[in-house]
């Protein structure tokens, strides 16, 4: 169908626009969404759909999510925005103890599957402790919710629409550094990208590399460097859904290549790479040619001035590939 050049925040707006148009029960709410949002993701929606469907909330994350759960339980579609993933923690109890357990604890009498929570995520160059976090690992530990992270505008729209339509509560993290920077031709009409399906971006034979969000672009570059400098062929996988994650695609790839590198900005210890690494060594133990490598943020809060040294950049990833090949 018809496509339009969109950056990441515009593709989000487009998805929300589609959702509000298609689903008369859908509402979009959060801090400052009415005027368009601090990242412009909701520009124009209130004018188009009215103040009863696009509205501001007080500054209270626990309330935003709790309110969203309430709406979802009545059967309406709730699309909540948390202004920064770093500030999602006051809502942690609502997400983990309420949203995630609603269906299970009621024996499927009730559910809040119509809830989607969106939040800007990841490093942005100057965000420091409270505007850079990648908290997916906290939520990965919680059965009952889905966690999804897109790498681009095209992916974001399809994945967000799938989250909104999915009958389980979903958290959708949006890489804020890509809001303006990433631009693609994106279909104007709605479309879906399936959840819990990883995507192989490029095939390769020597090393499997797995990442999500912004970091996918880093490992893509590393794959090119490895090919050029080391003659190493890398298979690049975007995990896309953190929970429930696509073990099959990743294990199938590692069974082929024998080497796995996982990379994320979030700190190493307890980061989601740990879960992937653990599962892969269970499933692919005899296929492995080298220990699984994790290139992640350090075990510190996210620093301000030291960001260039903190992040798992292409040089660290490249070096890890080099070591794995030479193991």
């Amino acid at each position: 169908g018809q496509t339009q050049k969109m950056n990441l925040f515009q593709s989000i707006t487009s998805a929300l626009d589609n959702a509000l148009a298609k689903d008369p029960t859908a509402v979009v709410f959060g801090e400052d969404v009415a005027f368009g949002g601090v990242f412009r993701c909701t520009v124009g929606l209130r004018d188009k759909y009215g103040k009863d469907r696009v509205f501001n909330t007080p500054l209270c994350e626990q309330g935003i999510v709790g309110f969203g759960i309430g709406i979802a339980v009545t059967g309406a579609t709730a699309i909540a925005e948390i202004q920064f993933a770093d500030y999602i923690f006051p809502a942690f109890d609502q997400i983990v103890n309420e949203a995630a357990k609603y269906r299970y604890r009621s024996g499927d009498l009730f559910n809040c599957g119509n809830l989607t929570i969106r939040a800007p995520w990841g490093c942005v160059g100057h965000g420091a402790l409270y505007h850079s976090q990648s908290p997916e690992a906290f939520f990965a530990h919680c059965p009952g919710i889905k966690v999804v992270i897109p790498r681009s505008p095209l992916q974001a729209k399809g994945l967000l629409l799938s989250c909104i339509e999915d009958k389980n509560p979903c958290i959708f993290f949006e890489p804020k550094i890509l809001y303006r920077a990433a631009v693609e031709q994106v279909p104007v009409e709605p479309y879906n990208i399936p959840l819990s399906q990883a995507e192989v971006l490029q095939t390769g034979s020597d090393v499997t590399m797995v990442a999500w969000g912004t970091q996918v672009h880093v490992i893509k570059e590393v794959a090119a460097m490895a090919q050029e400098k080391l003659g190493v062929s890398c298979e690049v996988i975007d995990l896309r859904t953190i929970l429930p994650w696509d073990t099959e695609t990743v294990c199938k790839s590692v069974a082929k290549t024998g080497r796995l590198l996982i990379s994320h900005e979030a700190p190493l210890t307890g980061g989601f790479a740990s879960e992937i690494s653990s599962t892969v060594q269970e499933e692919c133990f005899l296929n492995l040619e080298a220990p699984i490598s994790r290139v992640c943020g350090y075990d510190t809060p996210f620093p301000h001035i030291f960001e260039p040294f903190y992040i798992p950049d292409k040089w660290k990833c490249y070096d890890a590939v080099r070591k794995m090949i030479n193991y």
Binding site: E31, P58, P303
Partner: protein, 403 residues
């Protein structure tokens, strides 16, 4: 029979035999205490704190980065500040150089370059380092027993001074826990200042809650409360001074809601600019947001999309009001204004440039202070970075950092 009273635990009221609901806005809005009118004239002489001209800064610790500050608590009290309200620190004599150092994250920053700009802290001046999350300071400022230490934890500052609804009570019955955990119940003697600027970024208070602002919640918590004109230096000073005196003497907490507006006098074209560093009137503005137009929440905010600043800047600016007062008394005039404007601009620009030139702290400081002692795993990560930089150092901005 002897008068029957309810026997419920915690209830000390009498019975009522007529069905009647309590009106929420009983006082038709709690009145706003002020001392001066907008032209700087003291309305009632009894309320004039009679600040002397020769005690610069001694009594007035106002800043207008985003909001006014109460006449500063004495340096002996611990201040737990919200984001964007560093006036107390400036008032306590924190040097310009160190404000700039934090903003630039250079090697002089006592905070070691860890945080985004404007997240200051100073142990010597009892100013707890600012953090970005909002309203987290509320329960923290509630620390028990401080009164007995002779300190008084002043200003468990309602953290989100600039966000009126950020106490998180909003339209829901519960709070996010930021305000509820027994404000004042824990035995401490906090003084709480909330600077109600009418907005949470773009969301006006009318869209956040139905009640009469923050002051109206005080009685619900059993707090002595007052609403003051936050643009009136003396009103805030009087209220703060009295609240603190009584908080310590009576060992009970106080709540002050200072009404104001988000003003950011950073533009050198703005007539209020020269007041930024007058010793009599310490004011801070948002350095890292640079010289941007008045009043945006941050560099990514365009507040013209949702409010008009012109009225506030022209009609009721807190600095203007104080200036009128000073001019009325012959303590200030146009020549002094010009001179100060010139010298303050020079000071600030010099400090800017100096801070920009300073190197950043050494990268190994990335790893310290996570815990008091560095765990082995983290030490190993530090070594890994060192080794990584030996090979790949050319790809990193090492020339800007100390060794």
């Amino acid at each position: 029979s002897p008068e029957e009273r309810p026997q419920f635990p915690g209830a000390s009221a009498a019975f009522a035999e007529r069905l009647e609901f309590i009106q929420p806005n009983v006082l038709a809005g709690i009145p706003v205490y002020r001392v001066m009118d907008r032209q700087g004239h003291v309305l009632r002489p009894s309320e004039d704190p009679q600040v002397r001209q020769d005690t610069p800064g001694a009594h007035l610790g106002h800043t207008w980065h985003r909001c006014p500050h109460p006449g500063s608590p004495p340096s002996s009290s611990i201040h737990v500040p919200p984001r964007c309200a560093p006036g107390v620190l400036l008032y306590r004599g924190y040097p310009l150089e160190l404000f700039m150092a934090q903003c630039y994250g250079n090697a002089r920053d006592p905070g070691k370059g860890r945080q985004m700009p404007v997240h200051y802290g100073c142990r010597e001046r009892h100013f707890v380092t600012i953090s970005s999350p909002l309203a987290t300071q509320i329960p923290q400022g509630d620390a028990p027993g401080a009164g007995s230490l002779g300190l008084g934890i002043w200003a468990g500052s309602l953290g989100s001074g600039i966000w009126a609804g950020s106490l998180g009570l909003g339209i829901w019955a519960g709070s996010p826990g930021s305000e509820d955990p027994g404000i004042g119940n824990l035995g401490g003697t906090p003084g709480m200042g909330n600077w109600d600027n009418g907005y949470a970024i773009s969301t006006p208070t009318a869209e956040q809650y139905r009640g009469d602002g923050i002051a109206a919640r005080g009685p619900g918590y059993g707090l002595l409360s007052i609403r003051v004109d936050g643009n009136d230096v003396f009103a805030v000073y009087n209220a703060t001074r009295e609240a603190r005196r009584r908080a310590v003497a009576e060992n009970q907490p106080f709540l002050i809601e200072a009404m104001t507006y988000r003003i950011l006098p950073v533009s050198s074209k703005n007539p209020h600019f020269p007041w930024i560093f007058h010793p009599f009137f310490p004011i801070f503005h948002g350095f890292p947001t640079g010289f941007c137009p008045i009043g945006h929440h941050s560099t990514s905010d365009d507040s013209s999309a949702y409010r008009s600043v012109n009225y506030w800047d022209k009609q009721d600016h807190p600095i203007s009001r104080l200036r009128h007062y000073m001019v009325n008394r012959g303590w200030w005039d146009e020549d002094e204004e010009k001179g100060w404007r010139k010298s303050s601009r020079k000071m600030v620009l010099e400090a800017f440039e100096q801070a920009e030139r300073e190197p950043k702290p050494p990268p190994h400081l990335l790893f310290s202070d996570v815990y008091l002692e560095m765990p082995p795993r983290l030490r190993r990560q530090r070594r890994e970075l060192e080794r990584h930089l030996e090979t790949y150092g050319e790809h990193y901005p090492l020339q800007h950092f100390q060794k």
